[in-house]
């Protein structure tokens, strides 16, 4: 049992953090929510609509997007092509095999502006595999944003990014629209307490506790879980 009896409610427009030790089932939870894994039991509701039986791409169309912990990008597409593809899929133009891409200037421009909002305009025409790692992590987010989500799930967005470079990444996340509900998995407690207004702690496949940062900081069970770890829960 990787994730059991999980009851998670993500109120609209709030920044949520999902924390917990490795192997707690956090990524599995995201996979369940996005439809990459099928649950044995239970329901997933998005804006009141039951999406439990929907395929992943259908959930994306209803506004649920995610990023991957390990870069899952298109190596030989440029950054612009990648994001443009997401925009075209969103608008239902990707089935069109007769008109050239040059006729879809609006979509391409939108892709460019998304990349610009994440400070990636320098890498627009470079192949994904030639981008720096930090830029690739930002491209992960750009791809998810291009689908115009209502709920955004970020799986360790700063994974592998050195401390000093992750600041830019998190300011980009902070700058995201406030009407967007964001859930991010993160291990760095400073980041969690700075950006999240609700924290959910997951241990051994179950939700241990969830609440405001203050609640979490004071909860003895959380201290216990993190005893001996490098991160200290700020008092």
């Amino acid at each position: 049992m990787v994730a059991q009896d999980v009851e998670l409610e993500l109120p609209h427009g709030v920044r949520h953090a999902l924390i917990g030790p490795n192997g707690a089932g956090k990524t599995t939870l995201i996979n369940l929510m996005t439809g990459m894994l099928a649950p044995d039991a239970g329901q997933i509701l998005l804006g009141g609509e039951d999406i439990t039986g929907l395929k992943p791409e259908a959930r994306v169309r209803r506004g649920l997007a995610r990023t991957f912990q390990i870069n899952t990008l298109f190596p030989q597409l440029t950054a612009l092509e990648s994001v443009a593809l997401a925009v075209l899929e969103r608008d239902g133009h990707a089935h069109n095999w007769w008109r050239g891409l040059t006729r879809f200037g609006a979509e391409v421009d939108e892709a460019a502006s998304i990349l610009q909002s994440l400070n990636l305009q320098k890498g627009l025409h470079r192949l994904t595999r030639e981008l720096a790692y930090g830029e690739q992590r930002l491209l992960e987010i750009a791809l998810a944003l291009a689908t115009r989500p209502r709920v955004l799930l970020l799986d360790e967005p700063a994974a592998g990014v050195p401390r000093d470079e992750s600041a830019e990444l998190f300011s980009a996340i902070a700058g995201l629209s406030s009407s967007l509900t964001v859930l991010f998995i993160e291990h760095d407690m400073d980041v969690v307490f700075r950006f999240a207004s609700r924290i959910h702690v997951m241990v051994g496949g179950r939700i241990l506790v969830q609440g405001t940062p203050d609640d979490i900081a004071r909860d003895p069970r959380v201290r216990e879980v993190y005893l001996g770890r490098a991160h200290r829960v700020p008092a």
Binding site: T34, E57, F74, E81, H95, W97, G100
Partner: protein, 312 residues
């Protein structure tokens, strides 16, 4: 975005395809065979080079088109253009049907399935000898002319016919590649996992390209029937599937011209070496394959591109 403008080199290339009429009029039959194989390879490029489906059974559609055209010419009428159209449709129907199976699998299971389905179609045609003539193939019919131009002994009409259809097929492929659909196919090839996560209906896309590729392959098969006035089981064989795969890889998959370049080189070479025992031909092809994989993984066109691109 990849430049969709017509490059001068391309214009030169297509003008050069007219040269055989003038320079090598004795080889026009070979030239028409090359054009047919090029069209077949182009159809494989759509699913392999652009969508990433490794198929060891693509000849099923080539043969389906060939037999359809042959059966029409033998039992109904000898007008080739309608035969071409119907061949494309029948191959497309087969492709559409099989695509539902194909798109659900990846890696080894996919390779095996394409192989198995190709072998199945071949066996089915072999068994249905009342319809297909079995091991003897379809004979005893002739397609005398296309649009009033007689198929002559020198192969002039044949080459013009095949070349024109190849060019049209090329234009269609080009359109597809530079369209949003083409971008989606490349997305599937580059990272099939990411596609659903951006809301892409990958399977629907793959079914569509598989069907289009089947239609194109079927048309190529019909061209063979019209230009040779015979259909054999070989058009459905694993050998033909393997050959077209080798040709495409040789030229370079995913580069639009790879199939054409590969077809030219492969078939000219085979013609030149045809005096030699066929086994030894396979020795050199084997060696070539090993060399291409080890040293020229993107085929000849890939190697040329690397050579001419300035270091960034």
């Amino acid at each position: 975005m990849a430049n969709a403008n017509i490059k001068p080199l391309e214009v030169v290339f297509w003008l050069c395809t007219l040269l055989p009429f003038v320079l090598t009029p004795n080889y026009l039959s070979l030239a028409s065979q090359i054009a047919i194989t090029a069209l077949f390879a182009l159809s494989l490029d759509l699913i392999l080079g652009y969508a990433g489906i490794v198929s060891l059974g693509h000849a099923a559609f080539f043969g389906a088109g060939a037999y359809t055209a042959g059966l029409i010419a033998k039992h109904y009428w000898a007008e080739p253009l309608t035969g071409l159209l119907l061949a494309g449709i029948s191959a497309g129907i087969l492709g559409y049907a099989l695509s539902h199976i194909i798109v659900r699998f990846r890696h080894l299971a996919l390779i095996m399935l394409t192989l198995g389905l190709g072998l199945l179609v071949h066996e089915a045609a072999n068994s249905a000898s009342a319809l297909t003539g079995g091991a003897d193939g379809l004979q005893g019919f002739r397609v005398p002319a296309v649009l009033g131009f007689k198929f002559d002994l020198y192969g002039t009409t044949a080459y013009a016919y095949a070349l024109l259809v190849l060019f049209l097929g090329f234009l269609v492929s080009r359109r597809i590649i530079h369209s949003p659909f083409g971008l989606a196919l490349r997305g599937i090839r580059e990272n099939a996992t990411r596609m659903p996560a951006i809301g892409a209906p990958s399977r629907a896309h793959l079914r569509k390209v598989y069907t289009i590729a089947a239609v194109m392959a079927g048309i190529a098969g019909a061209l063979l029937t019209h230009t040779t006035s015979t259909v054999s089981l070989e058009t459905l064989s694993f050998g033909r599937s393997a050959d077209v795969l080798v040709i495409l890889i040789l030229g370079g998959a995913g580069r639009l011209y790879g199939g054409i370049v590969g077809a030219i080189i492969y078939m000219v070479a085979r013609d030149q070496f045809s005096g030699i025992n066929p086994q030894y031909w396979y020795f050199w092809i084997g060696l070539l394959l090993v060399a291409v994989v080890m040293f020229l993984p993107n085929g000849i066109l890939g190697g040329l591109a690397k050579f001419s691109r300035p270091r960034s």
